[in-house]
Amino acid sequence: MALLQISEPGQAPDPHQRRIAVGIDLGTTHSLVAAVRHGVAECLPDDQGRVILPSAVRYLEGGGRQIGHDALASQGDDPENTVVSAKRFMGRMLADVAGHQRLPYDFVDQPGMVGMRTRDGVKTAVEVSAEILATLRFRAEDTFDDDVYGAVITVPAYFDDAQRQATKDAAQLAGLNVLRLINEPTAAAIAYGLDEGVEGLYAVYDLGGGTFDISLLRLARGVFEVVATGGDSALGGDDYDQRFASALLQRAGLKTLEELTPRERRRVQTAARHAKEALSGIAEATVTFEVDGVVHDLDVDRVEFEAATSELTATTLRLLKRVLRDAKVSAEDVQGVVMVGGSTRMPVVRDAMATLFGKPPLTNLNPDEVVALGAAIQANALAGNATSGDLLLLDVTPLSLGLETMGGLVERVIERNSTIPTAKAQDFTTFKDGQTAMAVHVVQGERELVSECRSLARFELRGIPPMVAGAARIRVTFQVDADGLLSVGAKELGSGVEAAIVVKPSYGLSDEQVAGMLKEGFASAESDMVARSLREAQVDAERMILATEAALAADGDLLDAAERAAIDELVARVRATARDASPAEGPRAIEAAVEALAEGTEGFAAARMNRGIRDALAGRNVNEI
């Protein structure tokens, strides 16, 4: 007798139909990859059991690279070719990077984004981040012995459009299918299941190695709003090590930290860090370090550590209170506090939160991993693996988007905290008689003056028929997609003559630059680019075939026989092209067949959506929401 099959809870019945979807925390100092396995999100370790990958890439002679721990270990010997903290340069020009004079890099201020001259050529933060993302992708593929279907990548809540676009470009370079970009504090809240919990205000206190971010989220009607953000991009656990090391040198009656040789300084700071970490668990510890050839052993306790670093903790509290003030809320209004970042292991930080908010902070998840875990949960849901949790996350635009008008003023088109995706059109007119062109300048920010907002894109609308001033009607349309990325279009309606242009924000890399990077090849110089792009086109074709077949299985009854036959034919063509394609011609032929399938199923997609909307209105899927 055949036995009935029972699948594991939270898993799709057929393991082969489960899609490998990962969450990636692309951090300033370190990065992680996580996935949902057996219904639980967990971070994936490398072959040495380490889950943390330092966000460091060293470019070697002959085109090779060291990534992560190895790169970090050799940073001291080869600083100008070892890029760390690349996240600070994402979507930025040199002038935007505070303190760049103190960094060891040979910066190149080029259009689009600042670059760093290495022995392997000029690299932008996008390429450096792509190396890190690719390393994490390979780790996941080794873990599951399967291709990664897609990834959710986290970005800070305050990241603007150029920084988000840069992150997506890096993922594209790394060969990752981005399911969604989500905000880091939102990911942390998902990891704690707050999206299923009580509506209200939540604070996310994120103290990492080198950065401090504070975000206030409001969960209402299933939407995570970013109410306010704040922090200090140059305050983190490293500063605690430095302050503690200085205090210890002073107690031992030695030179100051600045007077030591770089080598001694590193050793003292490392010793201080180990003691700091020990003191998070126990009340007393011993610090050992060597200065001027003499070994010093000092007994230290938590009280001494906290006294030496109290100013830093006080600074984070001051920044946190400022965020509460900005949001016009008090500490009692906050429902819960989520702790993110390794530095929140320090009891002094946890105690400060408990005192301020009158309740203990959420700490039961590993603070280094919590963002990646939340991203993995979201990735799993987006890939369609989650059977019960029909989690729908509705995010908002973190900053207002607008246009420059006469006098350098900003006309807001999309207000901050609009639920995405969203689109809005605004009409403008000409300033002078006979004006035939109009400069469109797109900006992001909350200030009223263009000079105080971030410039995202500039383009010109030409071919406006000459008319008296104020007669032309120019409609500018802003569209923000579910990743928070903006596209802008403009057209002249007044006379019936239309001119339209759609731009991708110019601040950041152009499509051509990204294509150039792809061609140059990254990560492994030995990898065959031709084979790789064929493989990627095939994977993409397979994805589209599966998606179409699933849609046909669910809603095929919407089609008549002729419509069905047409789609079946298009699917068969994609399959045949993907199978028979030659490495040289293949990728383009496959892309063309996939595009034909997309076009040929547009009407079917619209009909399916119609059915979904009607079912939703009839309340038939209320339970799924």
Partner: protein, 177 residues
Amino acid sequence: MEDGLSLAATDFELFGLPERFAIDMASLDAKWKQLQGAAHPDRFATETAAAQRVAMQWAIRINEAYRRLKDPLARAAYLCALHGADIEAESNTAMPAAFLMQQMAWRDALSDAASLDAVDALSDEVVASRNVTLKSLQAQIDDAASVDWRTVAGTVRGLMFVDKFMSDIDKRVDALS
């Protein structure tokens, strides 16, 4: 293929709500979540490019309708437009004399207000007046045997002035505190 709702449906049709001014916020929120549950691009992350494009168009349309229905003024202005009486917020600034007198009196009171208490008192007065006007708007639209949409549009324009004034009050509060 079957017929159904299109992107060109009115906000009310899209949300399956009667075309009136009074609206039940709880059911509006619930419908919004139901509709996004069916249409949001996250639901189509594994689907074809065509399905993702359609999902984005619908999700944008649903958010637009929700934003408009949620806000009483935007909702009233939308009802006027549906009945051929555009608000013409930019071009039409003609207001009754009594209304203009009151606006001037309020503006004088705001520039004279030297303390937070004085601004708060003024704010309370404006909010109370706004609520009365909103009630009358509801009577004009939902309870009248035949609606005079031109008059309704005039009332909505007046309320837009009031809202502009409220944001000036907020700025003053920020400056004083």
